[in-house]
Structure formats: C-alpha cells, structure tokens
Amino acid sequence: MEALDLARWQFGITTVYHFIFVPLTIGLSLLVAIMQTRAVFSKDPVRKDAWTRMTKFFGSMLIVNFGIGIATGIVQEFQFGMNWSEYARYVGDVFGAPLALEGLAAFFLESVFLGLWIFGWGKMPEKIHLLTIWAVAVGTTLSAYFIIAANSFMQHPVGAMLNPETGRAELDPSQGSILAVLTNVTAMAAFPHVVSGAWLVAGAFLTGVASWHMVRHHNRARALGLDTEEGQEQHLAARDLYRPTVRFGVVAMFISALVLVVSGDFQAKIMFEQQPMKMASAEAHCDTDSEVPFSILTVGGPNAFSEDCDGVTHLIEIPYVTSILATNDPFAELQGVDDLNAQYKEQFGETALDIRGNEVEVDYRPNLFVTYWSFRLMMGLAAFSGVLALWALWATRGKGDKARTTGSKLFQWFAVLSIPMPFFANSAGWVFTEIGRQPWVVHPNPLDPTVRLMTLQGVSANPGWMVLTSLVAFTLVYGVLAVIWFQMMRKAALKGAPLAKRDPDTGEPDTPTLSFDY
C-alpha cells in the first residue's frame, strides 16, 4: 500500500476509535448534569437520595471515559500536520481557526470544570458544584460544535476564496469570513444530528446499565421474599433507585430519536444539493431516474467492493422513498452515480496532479459498497435503541405504588446488548459521510467550486514505511487501551451504586445530601 492509502486507513482507524468515547462523554456529561440537578432540587428525600447515588454512579464512569477521549483527540489534531501536511497548507488559513476556537472556548472549560467537579464534592455550595457539571456539559457540546464546523468546511466550503497567487484557500471577509464558517448550513444540520447521536449513546447506556441492575435487584427481592427486611431493601433498590434511571434513559432516547430524524432528514435534503454524489452512492443509485425507491437489500456485480456500478441490483425496494428523502417530491428525478461521474470529469478533469506533480486518473465515485451499507447500518442500528426504549417503558409501566419493575432475564440481556448499538451507529454515520465525500478532502461548493482539494493532493510527502510505522503503533497502543478501558467501565458498571439504609420509622434514606462533612 502507498502512503496515501495508509494515511487514509490511519485517519479512519484513529477517528472511529476516538469517536467511541466522544459521544458517550458528550451525552453522559449532559445526562449526569440533569440527574444532579434533579438531586439538588428534589424535595422528596427518597428521590433526592436516588438521584444523588445515580449521579455519582454514572459520574464515576464519565470520568474513566473522559480521559481516553481527550488522549485520542490529541492525535486527531496532530495528524493533520503529520499525515496531511499539504491539506494543512491548503486550508490552514480557514480550518485552523475553528480548531483553535475549540481549544479556547470549549476545551479549557470542560477540562477545568471537570477537575472542579471531581475534586469539589462537599467543598463548595451544592448549587455552585452543580454549575460545574453543567459547565462540563456545555463545554463538551461546544467542542462538538467547533469540530463539526471545521468538518463542514470540508463537506461544503463557505466564507473562503482561492488565492490565485499562493494557490491556497483563505478566509474571505467579503463572504462572511469566520462567521460564515461557523454558521455554515451544513454545520447547522450536522451539529444537532451528531449531538443527538451522542444523547442516544448515553441514553441507551443509562437504560442498559440501570436495567441490568433493576432486574438483578428485582429478582433478589423475590428470592429473599418481599416480607423480609433484606428483600424489601432489594425491592426498593429496584423500584426507587434504578427504575427512575431506566425511564430517564428512555426519555433521553426518545428526545434524541426525534432530533436525529428531523436533523437527518434536513441533512439529506441539503446534501442532495451540496454533495449529490454522496447521496446517490448512499442509495447505490447508478443511473439518473425519477421516482427513486429506497432499497433495503442490494447485491453488487463482480466488483461489488469498488466504485463500480456494474451489476448493482436492488432486490427489495420501497417505492418513492429516496425521492421523498431528497426533495419531499416522490416523483423527483435524481442524478445517478455514473452520470454525476461523467459530469464531474468534464467539470474538474479526468486527471489531477498529485503532490509530486504526477498526473493521476480520477474517478469521482466513492466506494459504493461502503457508502450503501454504512448508511443502512447507521439507521438500522439506531432502530435497536427504539426497541429497547419501548420495551423498557413497557416493563416499567405504572405509577406510584403500582410502579412496576421486571425480573425478565431476556429483557436484562437485551438491554445490555443494546448498549453498544448506538456506538456502532455513530461510527457508521461518520464512515458514511467521510467515505461519501471521496475523492475529495475539501468537496467543491457547487455555487463556487474554486475552493476544492482532492484527498490525493492533501497527503504528506513521507514514505509509506513511516506512515505504516505510525499506523501499527497507534493500532497497538489503542488496542491495549481499549481493553483496559472496557475492563474499567465494565467493573464500574457492574459494581452498582451502594444501597441506602432506610430509617425504619420514617422510611427516609440515610444520605440525602450531595455534600460531605468532614
């Protein structure tokens, strides 16, 4: 393999890896902040106690997760210079700004306040301490915003022009400059999609972990007998401690699903205008046609794993859906991959110059197999969370004294197995949007296509063995860290929150406050 392919593999591996931890951090910091808010403002001592315990329980996992997200984020920033130096030169004047803004506006905020939150338990007034976790939640979300703004410039460059003298993209005050970059319509659509994807991850995580404990305590209570003191303690743990968290996770999943669908639909529509090739390849839609259906199963020809359209056959189709997805008009005509390819060849040339000035033939079609299936994987895996949410809601139905918990082993295992699904859906979404942009690293804006760069023109001049060395080194170190991370998260999740000792007369739990006394 050449340096270009290796550098692409490295970017793919390190990004997907980084984005295992990031959505959980973004989503969980918000959900923990909400749980702590409920703890601080609950009048009912039982609820106050339960939310306090859950805040700490999920907070301890948030801390484990936070570190590795930061550590792998450093690599993302350095990589632009190490492997993609020519890209960095081309876009640096524009692209560096949102990254630096992320550091200044968001990264300091989340790091400093996470430290304050961790070490500040019992050292500051309850409500000020609550503000620190909110600062963390705001910081992580703000981080996502700036990174999405930077990424959106690669999908749809705005606010910049090509300087013919240097041959580089530069911020253009007459086109709105940095404000245009930060309010890019592509970013406005992608940001809610990514952030709600993070909520889905965290919501499923909350429901999955809490369900596991709820079922465990439910069954223990039944084994000990509800009339015994221990049995009652277990019963209350299931009903008052974990059940509310299960349902809270469900609410988070419902809200995120709503935002995901609305923002995803909006994204699809602007993508058909901005990057028609990406959406056509999402459907493996080869020839220009109207009334385009949405296929559920498609097989390829002999070269199914390539950019090749030959032999692509849609086996199961839902009529009109892709046309509706693109334009809201079921009869709309959509350009196919092959026609777009021919059109781009005419517009941008059949060949391009690589970094060493060699002419290289260009195919403007991304890898159809990857785009087609990652698009379906993204939506299909997210649906898993829908089932979990509905099942959890049904299993915990009822109010007050009739509030139910469940002892179903099947539900318990389904809940746990549902935890990783939104993670994979997030990864699939990123794989789709990044592979779908190929062969471009900066996709030309159809309104002003002068600012554009192909991936093969962005790579560093370093030899293949060098990139291979770093690819192997990162993969190995990341592999080891992933194992340690998983073990620590698993241990923390299995441990559960400590149970409250209730006052036998009043029924009130023993530690109703968030602060500690020395």
Partner: protein
C-alpha cells in the same frame, strides 16, 4: 513552563521509586488538579499554531514525523496514567502506571528538547517546504544537548515545585535532589545557550536573556540551600522563560531556517496565515483568554480558600489529601 513542572514531577516518581507506590502517589497528587489544564495549553497551542502559522505547522509536523509519533504515544498513555492510576486498588496496577509516569516525564522533555534544538539550528528544507533531513541527522550533538538541557531543567523545575507542595521526608528528598540536579543543569544549560548564541542566534541582543537565564539558574543553588523554596522555583521559572525568549528572539525573523538553501526558510511572514485570519484569531484570543484565565484563577481560589479557613499550616499536600478524600467518598463507594 507549566507542562515543564508536570514532567519534572513525573520524573520525581523515579527518584522516589524506592518509597513505594503510596509515596509515589503522593508525589503525583501535587499536580493532580492542575496537569490537565496544563495539557490543554499544549493542545490549544498546537491548534493556535495551525491557525496562525499553517505552513510552519505543516512543515514541522510532517518533517519531524517519527519524533512526533513517539511524543504522541507518550502523551496518550500519560493521560491514561493520570486518569486511571488510582482507579484500581492494587499495588501492581499502580506500579505499572508509575512506570508509564516515569516515561511520561522523561520522554516528552527529551523529545521537545531535541525538536527545539533542530528548529533553532535549522534543517534541510526543499522548495516544496518538505523537510529532507533524516531521523538520524536530527539526532545531532546540538539537538541532543538541547534534549539533555530540557530534561535537566524540567527535572529541577519539578523538584523545586515539589519542595513547595509536599511535606515531611519527601520534602527533604526533594531538597536534596534539587541540590544534586542544580549543577548539571547549570553546566549543560550554559553550554547549550552559549553554543546557541555563537552559532545560531541572529542577534547579539539575545545575550541579555541568555545572561538572565544563566544567573537565575545559578541563583537556584544558594536559594535551595537556604530553603527559600518559593524563590528557587521562581528562579527556574525565570530561567525557562528567559531561555525561551532567547531561542525565539535569536531565531527571528525565521521560524524554521533551512540550512541547505536560505530561500527555502520559513519566516514569520511566509509561514503565517493572512492578516485577516491573524486579526480574527487575535480578537478571539482577546475575548476568550480573559474568560479562561478568570475561571482558572477562580479554580485555584476555590481550593485555596479552604486552606485559609482551616488554618492549615502547609497548604500543598494536606489540601490535596482532603480533595482526594472528597473524591474517594464521592466515587469509590466500597
């Protein structure tokens, strides 16, 4: 400067190795709440470099590829060492992460030093602004001396930080080690700065910060002997700041000189972003920096306030012990 004492404190994990994992943990706890913020400066610094000097960023990062790869790997595991060391209650687990801490202290200091040495001495850069100097050529005597100076200086700096932040026998240890480290740091530092001044500086004006750095370093010896710990720490801080001013001042107007052909050199002018982007970044800095500084200072005040309240005689370790205790009660429910 800030990362400097973090690295130095991590190096002290090695010097206190024999005292066992518990003591090593105490050493690390002196930077527990601050290292994270210091690391963010490094990351934000990288992003600011990208935004303000994209050509420098691109040439430097692609040209010093393998050195940066090593640095990145160490920075990654170093973060995990900080975050995860106390998450499992086992001496073997802690000892394992302590090894990582020692590497995480020495290796980045050495790598930064070698990289800096090469930046000021210059490397071969072709007309595409690609570095053509090989890895072996990067390990030249001047750069290696630079690496050694960085290690010794940060080590001394971190040790003096410890004398400020720790109590009991560990403080004695730190004092002793500071005494031992001072002379090698002075000799190596003086040799490096003289070499730089004579061979690589573009102006005799840098003699002033060079002299300041040398004097500040020499002052560490009597200050440390008299247990003027705050002043001694201030002296190494001054030395590091003055040396940085000397290095960048002597480099000006270059940011990365090309030794093969001066025409290929990167300068402040030809490696920077457009004036418009620089203005945008300056405005952002002016607006956001005060906010960041404000809440960073507030953080320190929140923790310091407690000490005054309880009339604690030695702020450092006891405060951190209390913070640690609060943390344990909050998150480790066993």
């Amino acid at each position: 400067m800030l990362e400097g004492f973090d690295f130095g404190v991590q190096m002290n994990v090695a010097t206190s190795w024999k005292r066992g994992p518990g003591t090593r943990g105490t050493v690390l706890r002196t930077i527990g709440p601050v290292w994270d913020g210091n690391e963010v400066w490094v990351i934000t610094g990288g992003a600011l470099l990208f935004a303000a000097f994209p050509e420098w960023y691109a040439t430097l990062f692609s040209g010093f590829y393998l050195a940066l790869l090593l640095l990145l790997l160490v920075l990654i595991v170093r973060v995990c060492a900080f975050k995860w060391r106390d998450k499992v209650d086992s001496d073997r687990w802690r000892t394992g992460w302590d090894v990582v801490h020692v590497i995480g202290g020495f290796a980045p200091a050495l790598l930064w030093g070698v990289a800096f040495g090469n930046i000021v001495a210059g490397v071969s850069i072709d007309e595409n602004r690609w570095v053509t100097t090989t890895l072996l050529e990067l390990l030249n005597p001047f750069a290696l001396l630079s690496g050694l100076v960085f290690v010794l200086l940060f080590w001394l700096h971190g040790t003096l930080y410890l004398t400020l932040k720790i109590e009991g026998p560990l403080r004695e240890d730190a004092n002793r080690w500071a005494g031992r480290l001072a002379w090698p740091a002075i000799v190596a530092g003086a040799a490096f700065l003289l070499w730089f001044q004579l061979a690589h500086s573009n102006t005799w004006l840098t003699l002033i910060p060079v002299a300041v750095a040398a004097l500040a370093l020499i002052a560490v010896v009597p200050l440390n002997r008299r247990r003027r710990e705050g002043l001694a720490f201030g002296a190494t801080t001054t030395a590091i700041a003055a040396a940085s001013i000397a290095l960048f001042g002597g480099l000006f107007p270059y940011v990365m000189p090309a030794v093969n052909d001066p025409a290929n050199s990167l300068t402040v002018a030809n490696a920077s972003s457009t004036a418009h982007t620089l203005t945008v970044m300056l405005v952002a800095l002016c607006v956001l920096m005060p906010i960041v500084l404000a809440y960073t200072v507030w953080t320190y005040r929140v923790f310091r306030h407690r000490v005054r309240d309880e009339d604690s005689p030695a702020p450092g370790s006891e405060l951190l012990e209390k913070a640690k205790q609060g943390y344990r009660e909050a998150f480790e429910q066993d």
